[in-house]
Amino acid sequence: MTTKTRVVVVGGGLIGTWTSLFLARRGLKVILIEKGIVGAQSSGVNFGNLRLQGRHPGQYPLSIRSQAIWEDIEELISDSCEFEKTGHLYVAMNEAEQEKLEQHARVAEEHGLVIERIGRDELRGRWPWLGEGPQAATYSARDATANPRLVSVAVARAAQRLGTEIVEHSCVTDVRRNGAGFTVKTDTGRAVDCDAMVNSAGAWALAIAEAFGETAPMFAAGPPQFVTEPVPYQVRPSVQAVDGSVIFRQIPRGNVIFAGYPRTAADPVLNRAPVPPVKTLNGMRNLMRIAPFLKSAQVIRVWSGIEGYLPDMLPVIGESETTPGLFYAFGFCGHGFQVGPGVAAVLVDLIVDGRTDTPIDLFSINRFKNAVQVSDKLAREFDAPAASGRRAG
């Protein structure tokens, strides 16, 4: 038997769950279909950083809108998911890096963010645990962190309470046009008719896009991440080296979570993203450079996830060019956690109001019809050659 609904959301990650929640809050009937379980892929295993510093200039309006939603999370879903306004310290090890920080700071300030510039002496005074390496930093107090393991599931529950049907362990096997809408079928025998469809299937999103004649050069990779045993709590902000070699934060129970480039290979078919031990040792060494007080702390756990990356390191967001009523949000290139709720809000603008005030043209899937500019991050953040990694599904 076929079910009818207004919107089908494919993919129960951060984007899919927030989109379902906001649609439900606007009174729309939604069915969310997830191939595994909600919040278990990169949405659930990422670093948990709600970072505003150093984003792509074109992404600031979206990021600022998203941060306002994060700041309201407890009100929205009755669960704070360990959201904390920790601040973000962006550190430079030399003058060239300091210049880079300055460029980032000017862009952020144009979008209303308050950035503090901190010299070498003040740096040690305010954060005495910093090592000798950092020469300067910028600090943004509005940056925050949350626990990714908890968020997507909590948001899905909130959507469920408002009537959204969450269908787990169901893989979409067939999507086709049905009048002005769609019929979606799953491997568990469900058939759903809907007016609009959201493709937020992350590293597995290409199958649906390609069913409607669109594609993107997405490949899969993962962020290698590490955590130490608990040590006395003293690092309040999340701290990031501007060269990307390390980013770390300490949670109040004492564990220090850290990550760093290059990213690790991921296999979306086998559903595995193993972290080679060499990356763990690299991460440990890079963390010690900035936070030498951790030198005796023990690393107890390592993990990664499977993320979709695009060569210009920008996501795909917006309505399909070929198929009105089909909306995309995937390929977040490892920085989807912060923008997730904002992207969901934009999708709901588009679905319900037919327009959005937040600029998103930069993220159209249309851009891949021509050769896109390859981001210099590709060389820096991946084991060369980056895009030769397994094509995302």
Partner: protein
């Protein structure tokens, strides 16, 4: 075959090394401990001047033979004591020795990683003064210390009797040995236990010796909790007849037999299957220990079989490796080793029934009881998470939501209980709860271990 590496310096690892040396190879033997012998035949530091006969009892002869075998091999192998293997990737072992990270590449790998204690949570089990049963033995053998002055041995394990006797010989007062499996279950397991009459007789002898020493042995008891304010003050049980009893003590040795240490097997590419007899996920291997390309498993790390089976399976794995690399092995030799391993592992299946893992106890646990001692996660938190809307029903997701298994031990100790608690809360078969996946490091490694390395 250039580089053959054995991980583990117990009976399986040493016997595998001896077979390879006889065939003219010079294997690397990596041992996490400073001394060979594994857990069972652990060599006490010379400074303790222990009487090995008193410590090892009927097994003293085997202990001496294994250590003299190793002494004869030491010059003919590349021996790496005090070396932890914390990761395996692309046929390279990642090691930690004296806090410095290193690597050992291999062409073929024999894993003889042994076993560790299997623990079921119990109210009060995290109080100071409670030790894992195997841990209590290690403290005695390795450091010459007793875990307390008046001790209850609690749980269900053949080691319960052995450890209690060892402690008795070294001057501890044993309040009681409390076995949670009833005698009727032991009688029912006799058929499998007859597979190794010598070991069976040894067990009966241990019991008799405890009796002679006037140490009370209580069968078929249900443990209710370990009591104490800041440390152990006593153990509360319900005995086989249903009456509640309190035994005053200052330490408890607690355990339910052993579980294989399979983390490295997983990182080396072994596949896993659920074993209903042990209610554990065990690595898949053929009768000779082949578990994948150039990967061999031996000893208790592959399947619990005890020291004799470990030696035989170590020899068998080494012979399989030789046969696979163009050195055919005598069929009669292979056959007799296989029969021995098979017979001794069948005996262990009997033991698993005679000394049962307390499934009912996991269902009866109070919500307040701590399940994960690293992260202080309670049984109630796990049940609440599982039963919530969109709640996880598989242990890796339960770990993500509750932190159970996320701490220092990475689920090595809470994992088996977590599977039971999740299955119980879901009302699903235990195999459906899955098993905690492994990533390196299998044990904690300090940041400064990486300091000396070139990027």
């Amino acid at each position: 075959m250039r580089n053959v590496v054995i991980v583990g310096g117990g009976p399986a690892g040493i016997r595998a090394a001896s077979v390879l040396v006889e065939a003219g190879l010079r294997p690397v033997l990596v041992n996490e401990a400073r001394q060979v012998g594994g857990q069972g035949y652990r060599m006490p530091p010379k400074s303790l001047a222990f009487d090995i006969k008193a410590l090892m009892g009927s097994e003293a002869g085997k202990y001496r033979r294994l250590h003299s075998l190793f002494a004869s091999l030491q010059e003919r192998i590349d021996y790496r004591p005090g070396t932890l293997v914390w990761g395996i990737h692309d046929k390279v072992l990642h090691t930690l020795c004296d806090d410095v990270a290193g690597t050992i590449p291999y062409d073929a790998l024999i894993l003889a990683t042994g076993a560790t204690d299997r623990i079921m949570p119990l109210p009060g089990w995290t109080l100071p003064g409670v030790f894992a049963l195997g841990g209590a033995q290690v403290i005695l053998k390795d450091q010459g210390c007793l875990i307390g002055s008046r001790i209850v041995f609690l749980g269900s394990s053949p080691l319960l009797f052995l450890a209690a006797l060892q402690y008795h010989k070294f001057g501890a007062s044993i309040a009681a040995v409390v076995d949670t499996t009833p005698l009727s279950a032991k009688r029912a397991a006799l058929c499998d236990l007859a597979a190794s009459p010598r070991t069976l007789a040894r067990g009966v002898m241990y019991r008799a010796a405890l009796h002679m020493a006037g140490i009370p042995v209580i069968d078929g008891a249900t443990p209710l909790g370990i009591d104490g304010k800041d440390q152990v003050e006593g153990v509360r049980i319900k005995d086989g007849r249903g009456s509640e009893r309190f035994m005053s003590c200052d330490a408890v040795a607690y355990g339910y037999g052993l579980k294989p240490e399979t983390q490295l097997a997983e990182l080396a590419g072994a596949r896993f299957r659920f074993d209903p007899a042990f209610r554990l996920w065990l690595p898949e291997a053929d009768a000779d220990g082949r578990a994948g390309a150039d990967l061999y498993l031996a000893g208790d790390g592959a399947a619990i079989g005890g020291a004799d089976a470990a030696e035989a399976s170590g020899a068998l794995a080494a012979r399989a490796l030789l046969a696979d690399t163009g050195r055919p092995q005598p069929a009669t030799e292979l056959m007799s080793l296989r029969q021995k391993v098979e017979r001794l592992r069948r005996f262990q299946k009997g033991l698993a029934r005679a000394f049962a893992w307390p499934v009912a106890q996991s269902a009866a646990l109070d919500d307040d009881t701590i399940a994960c001692r690293c992260e202080a996660v309670t049984v109630g938190e796990i049940r609440t998470a599982v039963q919530a809307p969109l709640g996880p029903r598989e242990v890796n997701r339960v770990k993500a939501i509750t932190r159970c298994g996320m701490g220092r031990c990475q689920g090595r100790f809470c994992g088996p209980a977590l599977q039971e608690i999740v299955a119980g809360a879901c009302g699903a078969p235990i195999a459906d709860a899955g098993r905690l996946r492994m990533q390196a490091p299998v044990k904690p490694i300090p940041l400064h271990a990486a300091a000396e390395l070139e990027p």
